[in-house]
Symmetry: C2
Subunit: 193 residues, 2 copies
Amino acid sequence: MDSRTKILNAASELFLEGGGAGLSVRAISKRAGMSTIGIYSHFQGKQGILDALYIEGFNMVRDAMDVISEGKANKAQVLESCMGYLRVGEQNEAHYRLIFGETDAGYEPSEEAISARNSAFSKLVSVAGSYLPEASTIIERRQIALDVWAIVHGYVSISHHAALTHDPSIDWKAMALRVVEMHLDAAMALNSD
Amino acid sequence: MDSRTKILNAASELFLEGGGAGLSVRAISKRAGMSTIGIYSHFQGKQGILDALYIEGFNMVRDAMDVISEGKANKAQVLESCMGYLRVGEQNEAHYRLIFGETDAGYEPSEEAISARNSAFSKLVSVAGSYLPEASTIIERRQIALDVWAIVHGYVSISHHAALTHDPSIDWKAMALRVVEMHLDAAMALNSD
DNA sequence: GTTTGCTATATAACACTGTTATATCTTAGA
DNA sequence: TCTAAGATATAACAGTGTTATATAGCAAAC
């Protein structure tokens, strides 16, 4: 196996196990069975590792939202796409926290990482936007995508921080979906005037 | 001036200037004009400093939402309360990022800090909940408060991370308020059935 | 076949972090 | 005045990301 992939696998494993806290350069290199220097020759230091995980995270989000085959979406499909997003937020908390800057205060995503983020947001625009009437402008589509994003992200983020009181009977994902649905209905009512 | 307040002021200044990145124990003690040891005798180390700032942050949020004098709120008042929240998120980004775990991966709020958070959320429940019909249950009030919180927090959080592309012409606060208003209307329509 | 040069890897060090053990200084009470 | 307790200072420890230096391996050139 390539040294680069060995390091990446080790980092991904550690990140999954202990989140950002246990993700030190020395821990990664130890797990990968080599010296710390590889992280600086194969990646650009820890920044490069975080970049790789950041991209991995946004690709998860994008793929999870990619449920619409072609053309116009119905409401159920938009909600299913949001459900994919919510599931990623729940099941991949470490990645999700990283892509929303909750892991390392010093980390700044690279150009490539930002384009991965934009790619995920484009997917959301295409999904949420395709629910609007065909005459809708790109501005309107981006707007409703941003609204939906804020709602689902808001619930994911809150659920992560309320994890202290960890009440499993609370269904965050259902709450978020309900708010999204209400918003879609209201937006559709406005746009069809 | 008390040593304790000297340290707290120094920490608050540094936090305001450089966020969580420059907030080191040595930097705080240097700014306060004393040794590092004071942070461990007067506070419980860095955890104690972060706790103080965390509480400060949530008190800002609570006070900013405290716009309703007594009794039932109208929609404008709820929106004004949300506007207060949004302003804190915009003008006190460092504090806001801290209270949503985006500063130090290792920090865990203490019991006192959590009660400050609960106090702020209670304020939101009382504001958003009082907009509902009087017959509404506490469950319904907490639910709409959570919805509103997710929306405004979602927008604040997204605005912080889109700060890379920093387009000042985008009015995040207005977008958030519009979504909140749509949600309030929809929720009111449902609850008055 | 030897030498050169490039790459990958290793070791050790540097500057930083939070934390603490030890020592000094100050001050209030007996 | 002596004592005890608290506040402050210094220095060290273990950890972090990073890098300068040194070694090993291996492919290409002569």
